[in-house]
């Protein structure tokens, strides 16, 4: 980091805090603090939803994913527009007309208090687990790349987020998200332009795209179905739709965004903007990763992108032959790549096939050398299942991008972390106060009291997130497990809301039993089967719906439509 990078980074962070605090003026009632007085325009909600969803690791990982595996990850988002349409047609008008602060508050009106409380606790467990990791994962990557202590990056991100989130509530979060998304867009565009400019003079942009395609990095759509393959068009359309339905329909961190709209129309437009913009944005991020791959076809990349682990294994005798094999394979690949471009320009298909075969052979040797290096990391006391995918993009940024742009990209990572984290701690605080504190501790207090309680709850969840992130390194493989743990809960929540919206005859006890059965089914699948965790969501949802319908059918009088199905008929305490 040079002086100009520091200037860009510090200016970005200070402006985020200052703008968030400036925009949060007047957040002195609970309606304004938790729902921004329901005054937000659609574009602010749209960018806030996008920012909350896109954590820093999304940018770090997605570019690395494209470098290693190509662009097919974008198919994961094909279900998003379908999910957004379903939510706009069902959840948005129901939640907005119910005049609620949280999605789970609606469940008490539709069912009963115990269903609301169970859903709230499931959300707090799931989102609480991920709150720390949202900060920890990018803090870890930044600390390795920049050589800063982990605690410094964690603390810097945490304090920044807590400052404006506690002070300004959802309004500060939303307007900061808008600014953060602008920084993110700017950073991504500058990064792409820079990587293209850095390509060798004899390689045009068209050549770069051709090479990325020839290297299998532009495999955007794969139509082949495989149960074990997470990224194909079918898993994207089916699994992705269900996942995004859960996320945008049942997760308070997203629901709270569109509850802040000044009308139902504004809320719908905010979601539909994401339906339209998200896929091109992910395509763009993945394309940057593909271009970074092309850049490294001409400039030799390190054997491993994790600098600390690379430095550690370099002292071992086994490393030298691996490094030699890697360098020789790289040179063969570079020659084959240049010959491939030449053959492409001359329009000679026979030569293209020949040089492509040479390229693939050299790439295979490079992959083998990297695998051996990764194995060496594990054998010499490094982490198990070592992968350096998350370090590829930032390693490129810090090595090759000019002064100022490095600071901008690091600011993007900070901005993405803060936007995701602020949304999480704000929604955790809202559920804590509205669904638990007001429901069970202080049923009727002054508006000022609940604003104060919300600020304390926000501070608590912010400090919790930073503290949990600080302990992240002690969790080891549990970090991977926590992602799986998140998928253990979404299915039941989705099933509960599917029953709430779609089956008017089902009452509270039936859906409560259904949620317990859904959780039992998911945990049984997790414990006793090899089913991939992506399928826990439909499994849990289907179990909740089936059990709730069965209990309703078996219960005397269970076929009578619930009175409280009409939103707002029964007010909770």
């Amino acid at each position: 980091m040079r002086t100009l990078d520091w200037f860009v980074l510090v200016t970005s962070l200070v402006s985020i805090i200052a703008y968030g605090l400036y925009r949060s003026r007047g957040s002195d009632t609970v309606d304004r603090y938790l729902l921004a007085g329901r005054s937000m325009p659609w574009y602010a909600m749209a960018l806030s939803i996008m920012a909350t969803q896109a954590s820093a690791i999304t940018f770090i990982s997605t570019t690395g994913q494209s470098y290693v595996d190509g662009m097919r990850f974008v198919q994961f988002y094909f279900g998003l527009p379908i999910a957004m349409i379903i939510i706009c047609a069902t959840a948005v008008p129901i939640f907005r007309r119910a005049n609620i602060y949280t999605a789970y508050e609606y469940l008490e009106r539709r069912f009963d208090g115990k269903t609301r409380s169970l859903a709230s606790l499931i959300f707090l467990c799931q989102r609480g687990l991920s709150a720390g990791l949202t900060i920890y994962a990018p803090a870890l990557v930044l600390s390795v790349i920049l050589g800063w202590p982990e605690r410094a990056t964690t603390f810097l991100m945490g304090v920044t987020v807590i400052t404006y989130t506690v002070a300004g509530g959802i309004k500060a979060v939303t307007w900061s998200d808008v600014q953060q998304m602008c920084i993110i867009f700017l950073g991504l565009v500058v990064a792409l332009i820079t990587v293209i400019v850095l390509l060798p003079a004899q390689v045009s942009f068209g050549d770069a795209v051709y090479l990325a395609g020839a290297a299998g990095r532009l495999n955007v759509v794969t139509t082949h179905f495989d149960w074990n393959d997470r990224f194909n068009i079918w898993s994207g359309l089916f699994g992705g739709t269900l996942l995004f339905l859960s996320y945008f329909g049942c997760d308070q961190s997203q629901v709270q965004r569109y509850l802040t709209g000044r009308s139902i129309t504004e809320s719908r437009l905010g979601l539909l903007f994401n339906a339209v913009a998200k896929i091109p944005m992910q395509f763009f991020v993945l394309f940057i990763g593909a271009m970074v791959f092309v850049f490294y076809l001409f400039i030799q990349p390190p054997v491993l992108f994790h600098q600390a682990e690379l430095a550690r294994i370099q002292s071992h005798a086994e490393f030298e032959p691996v490094a030699n094999q890697y360098s020789q394979a790289f040179e063969r690949r570079r020659q084959a790549t240049l010959a491939l471009v030449e053959a492409h320009h001359s329009g000679d298909p026979g030569a293209e096939h020949r040089h492509a075969a040479n390229y693939r052979a050299a790439q295979h040797e490079i992959d083998a050398a990297r695998t051996q290096a990764a194995r060496l990391v594990e054998q010499t006391g490094g982490e198990k299942d070592f992968s350096d995918t998350n370090y590829i993009f930032l390693s490129f940024v810090t090595r090759y991008l000019p002064a100022g742009i490095v600071g901008l990209v690091i600011a993007v990572i900070f901005a993405a972390t803060m936007s995701a984290s602020s949304g999480e701690i704000n929604s955790l605080a809202t559920v804590t106060v509205v669904d638990l504190y007001r429901r069970y501790v202080r049923r009727s207090a002054s508006d000022h009291h609940y604003v104060l309680a919300s600020r304390w709850a926000t501070l608590f969840w912010g400090v919790y997130a930073v503290a949990f992130a600080g302990w992240g390194k002690h969790l080891g493989p549990l970090i991977v497990a926590v992602n799986v743990v998140g998928s253990l809960f979404y299915g039941s929540l989705l099933g509960c809301f599917v029953v709430a919206f779609g089956f008017r005859r089902v009452r509270g006890t039936a859906v409560f039993i259904g949620m317990l059965a859904g959780e039992a089914a998911i945990f049984a699948a997790f414990r006793f089967t090899a089913i991939h965790w992506l399928w826990y969501n439909p499994l849990g949802c289907a179990t909740v719906v089936a059990t709730a319908l069965l209990v309703t059918w078996l219960t005397p009088g269970g076929g009578v439509p619930a009175e409280a199905a009409t939103p707002g008929m029964r007010q909770p305490g």
Binding site: P93, Y101, I264
Partner: protein, 44 residues
Amino acid sequence: MPELPRVPDDPPPFLGSWRRIYVAVLIYLCLIIAGFYLFTRAYR
């Protein structure tokens, strides 16, 4: 906590109805998938 005021439900600002907007988004999704498919084939 105070009762929240009712929110207005206005018609969409374009295309006349929400149903038409949803259909437009679905057509957009089909077009983008088709575009990506052609892109994949072109650079395979």
